[in-house]
């Protein structure tokens, strides 16, 4: 395996669902000779494109999970991380964006910049991923790449610069003109694999000259040498232009635009050249880890292979070879036989087998150096885990995992599904820390919990597709919580005389709101009014009340209990008796402490064309949302609001119909907040009715 880091590219291909991302990837793999035949998405041959390895994706023609594929183009090693285009798979999207150093933003020459391109672009902006754009589907009727370039400027604020112009459009698309070399490129052969360079057709000469001028003007902002060369009106070398464009791209201040039609095998090879020439290599990108010995303070990683190893497991897959863990090495080198530590669990792992993956096929290797992507076999870990050298304690991802805010009961329809469900759940919970599962004590149902309605829907769908587990789902439930709003005293005596030895225990103290955590227990008993051996029983008794609030049966959080007095009996007191006394004391204090219900509040961000802004704000307002603000960004407007999760069911349908499908939204958990009195009453009523059933 070569280790010239300057010739490594870790890239993502990001796009709107229907802009032809998978087809483009397929062609890239074909031209780089990783595959030897071309299959189409939703292909008639039943093979399907190579990158979409999940059944569900094959069926729908979309990509959800991010597989990593390796290929080679002109002595550069390119790892393609297939990023999910969907907005709701936050953890997956963010993880794959961390792993890549550059991206190709694919746009449809007809549809242009669509709402999802906006989201994808924003994610790249957030992670400062440099990108080149590829305007695909130039063979389609209505194709207009320059309209798309204008949209890139207006809607996404990119300094988009055409690197090519098309030769013919729609069904007459023949090839492209390269504005750096000023040559026409045609794609011959059955699959466009033979490049033929000719002079620019006469009818395009003027346009090409004009666009080249614009390219030089933009590029010269990043290179004094190029600026001088232009002023001197001498020969301008291709390297000089590429170098300037590259500088601008790495700063994210220029977006070079390529074009063609992947489906018609036109324009893919020049795009691959651009990946080599323009996108960054791993050592040009600064990566940070968090130092666990120093309050998660960020630490910059070196890309040297001699430093201690830091690697991130960014994706798990259950394949034909067993569990496969995709890793990216950020520092040092991971070698066969090495021992590393999984930072999350603290467990040591010996590296057995290392491989390089090409979707579902693989190739054994000896070492994965910094900047590279590889796969491990048979390692027990979860996605997002960091592997490090035993001497250091760094993590690539924060250890903070948000509590799930919504849950759903699932019931298998038959015996076979029941077995498969448990397999599926154990896999999903490993892959995604925000997805959890447990069995309800009361109903015996399996409950799955996660970060949103769609988050859970996707997993239910994956159970069906990948694990053949048919399930029926209950109504989604919001994770309400109970807490108290004031301090209240208790003084409770538990006394039972039933023949033989009785039960006796008295506990006194107070309960009060506690903002620094879920529960705190404080023992201030003096003089042995409650014997020391029973104190832990008291705590146990109180804790057993927290799972279910006595009033509304939601989990209780944010309470502090102090006990400061009590009494015992030399014969009748026991652990049991004090546990029961604590439960009684809790009940007594809790109800006096004005309990309230808290509900999860989501941060909702809607991006909408300006004309629908009024309607969007109305819709959020109706859902008990507090609108924080609106941000006007030219043609689109971003509305930010805080809305209770319970009011967000069905919002995507609502938003679609309000905005002719032109708006889109993201939602993430923000905080817990008290439910207004009128709503709280309804919730209590509903909970009581359900209990009757």
């Amino acid at each position: 395996m070569k280790t010239d880091i300057n010739k490594v590219r870790n890239i993502g291909i990001s796009a709107h669902i229907d802009s032809g991302k998978t087809t483009l990837t397929e062609r890239i793999l074909f031209y780089t000779q990783r595959i030897h035949a071309i299959h189409d998405v939703k292909g008639k041959d039943g093979v399907g494109a190579t990158m979409d390895s999940m059944e569900l994706e094959k069926e729908r023609g979309i990509t959800i999970a991010s597989a990593a594929t390796f290929c080679e183009w002109k002595k550069h090693e390119i790892n393609i991380i297939d990023t999910p285009g969907h907005v709701d798979f936050t953890i997956e999207v963010e993880r794959s964006l961390r792993v890549l150093d550059g991206a190709i933003l694919v746009l449809c020459s007809v549809g242009g910049v669509q709402s999802q391109s906006i989201t994808v672009d924003q994610q790249m902006k957030r992670y400062k991923v440099p990108c080149v754009a590829f305007i695909n589907k130039c063979d389609r009727s209505g194709a207009n790449p320059f309209k798309v370039i204008n949209q890139l400027r207006d809607k996404l604020g990119h300094n988009a610069v055409a690197m090519q112009i098309p030769i013919g459009l729609e069904e007459k698309l023949e090839g492209v003109v390269d504005l750096i070399e000023m040559k026409a490129i045609y794609f011959d052969g059955d699959n466009g694999e033979i490049l033929r360079k000719e002079d620019i057709p006469e009818n395009l000469a003027a346009e090409a000259a004009e666009k080249r001028e614009a390219l030089l003007e933009s590029a010269s902002m990043f290179s004094d040498e190029l600026m001088e060369a232009i002023l001197e009106e001498g020969e301008i070398s291709a390297d000089l232009i590429i170098d300037a464009v590259r500088k601008g791209t790495l700063l994210r201040e220029i977006t070079p635009v390529y074009m063609g039609s992947a489906y018609k095998n036109k324009g893919v090879q020049p795009l691959l050249d651009a990946v080599n020439n323009i996108l960054p290599c791993p050592s040009e990108i600064e990566n940070q880890a968090l130092d666990l010995d120093n309050e998660e303070e960020p630490v910059v990683l070196s890309s040297s292979i001699d430093d201690p190893i830091v690697a991130l497991a960014f994706k798990l897959e259950e394949g034909q070879y067993g569990q496969l863990t995709y890793i990216r090495v950020y520092q040092g080198a991971l070698k066969k036989g090495d021992t590393v530590v999984n930072v999350r669990t603290g467990r040591k792992i010996k590296i057995g087998r290392l491989a390089r993956m090409h979707a579902a096929q693989m190739e054994d290797i000896e070492m994965v150096p910094a900047g590279y992507i590889g796969a491990l076999f048979g390692v027990d870990c979860a996605s997002g885990d960091t592997f490090v050298h035993p001497d250091i304690n760094l993590t690539m991802t924060s250890m903070f995992v948000p509590e799930p805010v919504i849950s759903l009961a699932i019931v298998p329809v038959d015996k076979k599904s029941e077995v498969n469900i448990s397999k599926a759940l154990s896999r999903f919970t490993k892959e995604d820390p925000t997805f959890t599962t447990y069995v309800s004590d009361e109903t015996g149902d399996t409950i799955i919990s996660g970060m949103g309605e769609l988050h859970l829907e996707v997993y239910v769908e994956r159970m069906r597709r990948e694990y053949k587990a048919e399930v029926e789902t209950g109504k989604p439930r919001v994770a309400y919580r109970e807490t108290i709003t004031q301090r209240a005293e208790f003084n409770y005596t538990h006394k039972k005389q039933t023949g033989g030895s009785g039960q006796y225990g008295r506990i006194a103290g107070f309960i009060e709101p506690f903002s620094e955590g879920d529960f705190e227990f404080e023992n201030k008993i003096t003089g042995g009014s409650i014997p020391t051996q029973y104190i832990s029983s008291c705590e146990k008794g109180f804790q057993s009340c927290l799972k279910k609030g006595p009033k509304m049966e939601f989990p209780v959080t944010g309470v502090k209990i102090q006990i400061n007095d009590g009494a015992s009996h030399s014969v009748d007191s026991s652990e049991m008796a004090f546990q029961a006394a604590a439960r009684g004391a809790f009940m007594e204090g809790y109800l006096k402490a004005k309990p309230v219900i808290h509900e999860p509040i989501m941060k909702v961000v809607v991006e909408t064309p300006t004309e629908f802004q009024g309607g969007v704000m109305g819709s959020l307002n109706q859902r008990r949302g507090i609108i924080v603000g609106t941000q006007d960004e030219g043609a689109i407007c971003v509305v930010e609001a805080q809305v209770p999760l319970s009011e967000m069911f069905g919002y995507s349908t609502n938003l679609r119909s309000l905005t002719q499908g032109k708006a889109q939204f993201t939602m993430e958990f923000l905080t817990y907040r008290q439910v207004p009195q009128s709503i709280a009453e309804e919730i209590v009523k509903a909970a009581a009715e359900e209990k009757k059933k």
Binding site: T485, N621, I626, V628, G629, Q631, D632, G634, Q642
Partner: protein, 227 residues
């Protein structure tokens, strides 16, 4: 510290009315980075605590940044006070942030957005902060239109006005950016950075009772204080 929130200083938007009349215009002047926005955010919080709704319009910053600004200033104003848990939440529902790109901002556009909010009964401001209007350019038309708008919806308006270090003062003693429009403003406040603090000077006030001699901004927290 509680007085920072509730009990208004001699120059503030606290109390039952605040210093500007219901549809009056006010301006805070200073060089870049001295504390115009911070002062106005404090005025906003004074208003919010007196149950008056505030619309913060920014032509420079993002919603997120302004939101954080409010939250931070609120926090530093509220240190040492035991406030009920839901105070911030209440503030949130009485405050609205709107941001525009400078070049995309126009008064008709603002008016359109505002009527969207008012008609749907989502939000009607009692006070607006317009932060970042380019007073160096010709804005007399915009100012006239904002004045009309403020009368129409009965909301007072505070502006930030950026001045420059070496600049001549107009004959009426005011910086050139605002000299020609001074009649339109009830209040004109200048922030003058001195050695250890930032002096709050009232260049024009509604009445003479203001005791401006003793008002300052703390340069580290940018909070108002009276000596």
């Amino acid at each position: 510290m509680l007085k920072h929130l509730l009990n208004p200083l001699s120059v503030s938007e606290g109390g039952s009315t605040g210093i500007l009349s219901n549809n009056g215009l006010g301006a805070v002047l200073s060089r870049a980075g001295v504390g115009k926005t911070s002062l106005l955010v404090q005025f906003a919080i004074h208003s919010l605590f007196n149950n008056r709704k505030v619309l913060h319009i920014s032509l420079d910053d993002s919603v997120k940044k302004i939101h954080v600004w409010h939250k931070e200033i609120f926090r530093s104003m509220a240190t040492d006070i035991d406030l009920p848990e839901n105070v911030w939440e209440k503030i949130l529902s009485n405050r609205f942030i709107m941001t525009f790109r400078v070049e995309g901002f126009s008064v008709p556009k603002l008016e359109e957005r505002l009527s969207d909010l008012i008609e749907q009964k989502i939000f009607k401001p009692d006070m607006m902060i317009i932060d970042g209007l380019p007073f160096d350019e010709n804005i007399s038309g915009s100012l006239e239109a904002i004045k009309k708008l403020s009368e129409k919806i009965n909301s007072k308006v505070w502006f930030t006005v950026r001045t420059h270090r070496h600049e001549e003062i107009a004959p009426n003693g005011l910086p050139t950016q605002i000299a020609d429009f001074s009649d339109m403003f009830e209040y004109i406040i200048n922030l003058n950075p001195q050695e250890k603090e930032i002096k709050v000077e009232v260049l024009k006030g509604r009445d003479d009772e203001v005791n401006e001699e003793s008002l300052y901004l703390d340069p580290s927290s940018l909070l108002l204080f009276e000596k």
